[in-house]
């Protein structure tokens, strides 16, 4: 068994994008899919490129229900952003591949998946969504 998504209905089947929801009547797109299916809600693959609308940095290990690494010695602060996906919605997501101190509002980012605990054995890893800076542009 290899790394698994942290939950069902979070990613598209090929894990290339987040799974959002579209209200058939209003056209509003939001994330994630509701816990209970509804007739007027359909799944939609969210865009994979966007810009950081705002962010903060989680500087201390969260309490439960958080299940990531919490050892204060090893805990690494992580940036949490709202990434604006054009024409869709703003998704709350961790940022990866960048020092939290270097994050800027307006920077371009793209979708990726990361393990919740990079130090966990591969077969136990749970994958979560993140966005990383767009390179080389």
């Amino acid at each position: 068994m290899s790394a698994q998504p942290i939950a069902d209905n979070l990613f598209t089947d090929d894990m290339s994008a987040l799974l959002g929801a579209r209200n058939r009547e209003t056209g509003q797109i939001f994330f994630p899919l509701p816990l209970t299916p509804a007739d007027n809600i359909e799944p939609v693959a969210l865009g994979t490129r966007g810009t950081v609308w705002t962010y903060t940095v989680q500087r201390f290990p969260p309490k439960p229900p958080y299940i990531g690494p919490t050892d204060p010695e090893k805990f690494k602060p992580y940036a949490v952003a709202y990434v604006s996906l054009p024409g869709q919605t703003m998704v709350e997501s961790r940022l990866t591949g960048i020092d939290p101190d270097d994050v800027k509002i307006g920077m371009e980012v793209e979708f990726t998946v990361i393990p919740l605990d990079p130090d966990a054995p591969a077969e136990e890893q749970k994958l979560i969504h993140a966005f990383k800076p767009v390179q080389g542009e």
Partner: protein, 382 residues
């Protein structure tokens, strides 16, 4: 013209930590003080609205206060619990059905940030498991955008906290009673950027009770009359930015506070320029900054200059959070909104002692805001 509902008695149990006294007992303490303040007895109270988030059903207070058969309705409206209790009490008197009643709120929370369960917010478990279920992240992300959009320095956040602790020193019911200088606030450990630990309020304990009466009844009692010109509670409009949102609309909208504020000013026949004192929700420093503008007291971006010039100090043109607000008093959810009203009653009576706003204030404004996008506003007039 309809006569005003008046506040004829106010009581408070000191905020902070009181070992060995549960939340409801703190509520009882506040009620007894409010009764004494208005010179009435429990049997004279015809109805009550009250609530707590973590300390039980307020109507159980009758077992200690007296089994008078009173109508006692429990209110549960998150951070707006106190404001909603007051709002309901005002309506009960305005309707003509009752002449005198009570609004009460109390709470006692465990130490540390509030623990939240994703399913209570309609969110999947992964949201908590992956580390998003933290109110402090919301506060950090929201004010980060606001500072960026309106070109406000991070130091302005520090000045709000510095003022809160300065006012708290002078406040009997405050929890934090010592000053903290700007440098210490700015250099303290970061919790969620751009907010350091001194810029956040903590869950706490405390209780407030207010006795309300019709104008006719208030005159009979012969106590100083404080008129409630407005009491408004509103929920969020589309496109607002609230806690525990896994996504928010690209198209931004208004806030619950903006619509509550506008309705309150309309109800009172006043505008922001008519207000002498304001108590604004300051869950963290950034909230006070945003709420200065959302309530119409300044334009977004002007807050930096306000804080630099001390315009919201006790001696400034519009003193804000004269008792140190949530930052100095802590936040017992059920009592917090009523504490703001209590403080305004004391200020309008001119009995606030060392923190008394000079110049004989006549009008006072409160605004409490909380999850999931609720806001309650009052306007008092002496």
């Amino acid at each position: 013209m309809m006569s005003d509902v008046c506040i004829v008695g106010a009581g408070i149990h000191p905020f902070g930590r009181t070992e060995g006294r549960d939340g409801m007992d703190q509520g009882i303490f506040a009620v007894r003080q409010a009764l004494a303040d208005s010179g009435i007895e429990w049997k004279d109270v015809q109805f009550a609205f009250g609530g707590s988030a973590a300390s039980g059903s307020a109507d159980n207070m009758v077992s200690q206060l007296g089994l008078t058969g009173i109508q006692f309705i429990n209110v549960s409206n998150g951070c707006a619990t106190g404001g909603s209790a007051l709002n309901a009490a005002v309506s009960a008197i305005k309707s003509g059905e009752y002449e005198m009643g009570m609004a009460v709120g109390f709470d006692k929370h465990p130490r540390g940030a509030f623990n939240a369960d994703p399913s209570a917010y309609g969110l999947p478990n992964w949201y908590g498991e992956a580390g998003y279920m933290l109110t402090v992240q919301f506060f950090g992300a929201k004010i980060m955008r606001y500072l960026h959009e309106h070109n406000i320095s991070r130091e302005t956040l520090g000045r709000v906290a510095e003022k809160a602790f300065r006012n708290g020193v002078k406040t009997d019911h405050a929890w934090r009673r010592s000053e903290v200088d700007l440098e210490t606030i700015m250099n303290a450990p970061m919790i969620c950027d751009p907010l350091t630990k001194y810029m956040f309020c903590s869950p706490a304990e405390g209780a407030v009770a207010l006795i309300l009466a019709s104008e006719k009844k208030a005159r009979e009692l012969g106590v100083p009359i404080i008129r409630l010109k407005s009491s408004v509670m509103r929920t969020r409009p589309p496109g607002s930015f609230e806690v525990f949102a896994a996504s928010i609309d690209n198209e931004r909208g208004g806030t619950a506070t903006e619509i509550a504020s506008q309705a309150a000013f309309e109800q009172a026949g006043m505008g922001p320029e008519d207000i002498d004192i304001a108590q604004l929700q300051d869950t963290e420093s950034g909230a006070e900054i945003m709420h200065m503008a959302e309530n119409g007291f300044c334009k977004p971006g002007e807050q930096e200059q306000w804080l630099l010039e001390g315009r919201s100090d006790i001696t400034g043109e519009l003193p804000i959070n004269t008792d140190g607000g949530c930052l100095a008093c802590g936040e017992p959810i059920g009592a917090s909104g009523l504490r703001q009203v209590y403080e305004n009653v004391v200020q309008l009576r001119g009995t606030a002692g060392a923190r008394q706003v000079p110049g004989d204030p006549r009008t006072a404004y409160t605004q409490v805001y909380g999850a999931p996008g609720v806001s309650a506003v009052t306007i008092l007039q002496r």
